[in-house]
Subunit: 346 residues, 2 copies
Amino acid sequence: MNASAPARWELQPLPYPYLLFLGDTTEPTLAKTAFGLRDWIPERCVGEWGCAEGTVSTGLPRLRPREARARGARGLVIGVANMGGFIGERWVPLLVEALEAGLDLVSGLHAKLADVPELRAAAARCGRQLIDVRVPPPNIPIATGRKRTGKRLLTVGTDCALGKKYTALALARALAARGRSADFRATGQTGILIAGGGMPMDAVVADFEAGAAEMLSPDAPPDHWDVIEGQGSLFHPAYAAVSLGLLHGSQPDVFVVCHEPGREHVHGYPDYPLPSIAETIELTVRLGRRTNPLIRCAGVSLNTSHLDPIEARDLLAREAGELGLPAADPMRPGREFERLVDSCLA
Amino acid sequence: MNASAPARWELQPLPYPYLLFLGDTTEPTLAKTAFGLRDWIPERCVGEWGCAEGTVSTGLPRLRPREARARGARGLVIGVANMGGFIGERWVPLLVEALEAGLDLVSGLHAKLADVPELRAAAARCGRQLIDVRVPPPNIPIATGRKRTGKRLLTVGTDCALGKKYTALALARALAARGRSADFRATGQTGILIAGGGMPMDAVVADFEAGAAEMLSPDAPPDHWDVIEGQGSLFHPAYAAVSLGLLHGSQPDVFVVCHEPGREHVHGYPDYPLPSIAETIELTVRLGRRTNPLIRCAGVSLNTSHLDPIEARDLLAREAGELGLPAADPMRPGREFERLVDSCLA
């Protein structure tokens, strides 16, 4: 993406191409890592695999580890991002099979692969690697609050898992396509696997949360854009701390609110109604101006994947009219999305 | 304090009485751990010690480790809470001297005692313990957002280090003195050393921050009060993530705003003006009602230690009048403080 800022925390080279592991997942939103890799680095994904109980599919060929290895796969990526980030007990024999077939394991879960004795033993026996990408760098500083040079865009959400990463990736690509210097800054496991580096914001110790965000997007040339992947939501009963630390440390000049039309409560929290987009804009400005008084909302990104093209266009037009801001679905390129990009650059 | 809720995360028995170590500190606010222990558990503190460069004193007798040991001390507590929580290089020879004199070391810093090779070696050589109290328990859950039984009071602040812990300790004692069932719930190193247990909120991984606060104050009898020590400030450019996770997870019914009159900017951040008390009340209600719609402000706690009694009384009266809420300095017992307690119970 025409990167001009210095690269940091390059991961150890990752063993792609990948076999995507779906565990025993029956809910597509929990397999967002697998979908993210399929959508953004399809050239590195040879197939998918999972427990018999699982019902989610990425549409890639279903392959056992031995077949995947024969087709060139070098690593199995855990494609599941479950609540709490644990390694399911049912997964373990399948992960051992992958190691025995000659695949390394790559995980972005909170739980560490090497903490599962069976995996540690099998990896040692087979001479394979266990790679955890959700490990923050050492020596993250306490945030200074000092305003940094360069421009920053942050995607924020009304909830988790509704398009903050896709929106940031699409905006970074669009800025680069317009000849701007732009970096996608990954803050979660899937983004880090896509970008090959980043800051796992949810795995950072809370006192250092804003400092980690400052570290992720350091001083840059005045016309450089860091497009930062948002995390969680300021309204989330469990994850708002992550969102606020990321907002304060990112000091965004511009933010884009991501939302999934029709979602009415926080995913997994039926007692928590989703905030409106207008409320989300207002609270983000209110809290964000503490570290960047010039923060502004450039527009709205709606995940309309469940609508047909005409319904989606109508909905985007309606939302744009109501909010007085561009509204686009970054996965539907076109005039609306270009208007959103214009507004980010305005 | 008439505890009725179950005790959790009891620390290993701590080696008191203590010698309080002040390092090379020249700023009293950075020695808040030492002052906290002196003020709240004086019966466990035999003296103080530090580098020749240090200028801060708790007023306790200055003793070398050997003298302190002779007067009954069993542990040296690092009484400094510096930015970033590191072990100063200059401290190391003095800490080795303490180990050699027969004292265990107790620390609540982010940095771990055993990570300093000289300390590890000296502790092994002398058969002494290195005790880090800022270690969260394993298996903290993701917050559920479920409303819990019992009553909760949280102290919040316009900044760090201006009275949130003292206010919570004083309110917990006052509730107990009125025959209420009340627990002080410690959330920082000093509070944990005073209470003998608690949750080091700033050392918790950010994704689990609100969950840690839920764990700290579990379901309790309907008339039981958990009085929870606040951390940081929602307006702090580095620590707001901690404050928001603690607010969401604590689900306070009642909060008390702590402030130091005359402080004009965030300590150590001259570019960040302090919020007003009214602004702090408004934002705390705004964010806190997400997990407890009935949250209310019971009043204000002002740290008037730099004022004489008459100035302090006048200031408290003026603030109470302006805000329409009780205002008291918990370190000055009397009518104002009793009104604040009344308001918490109202």
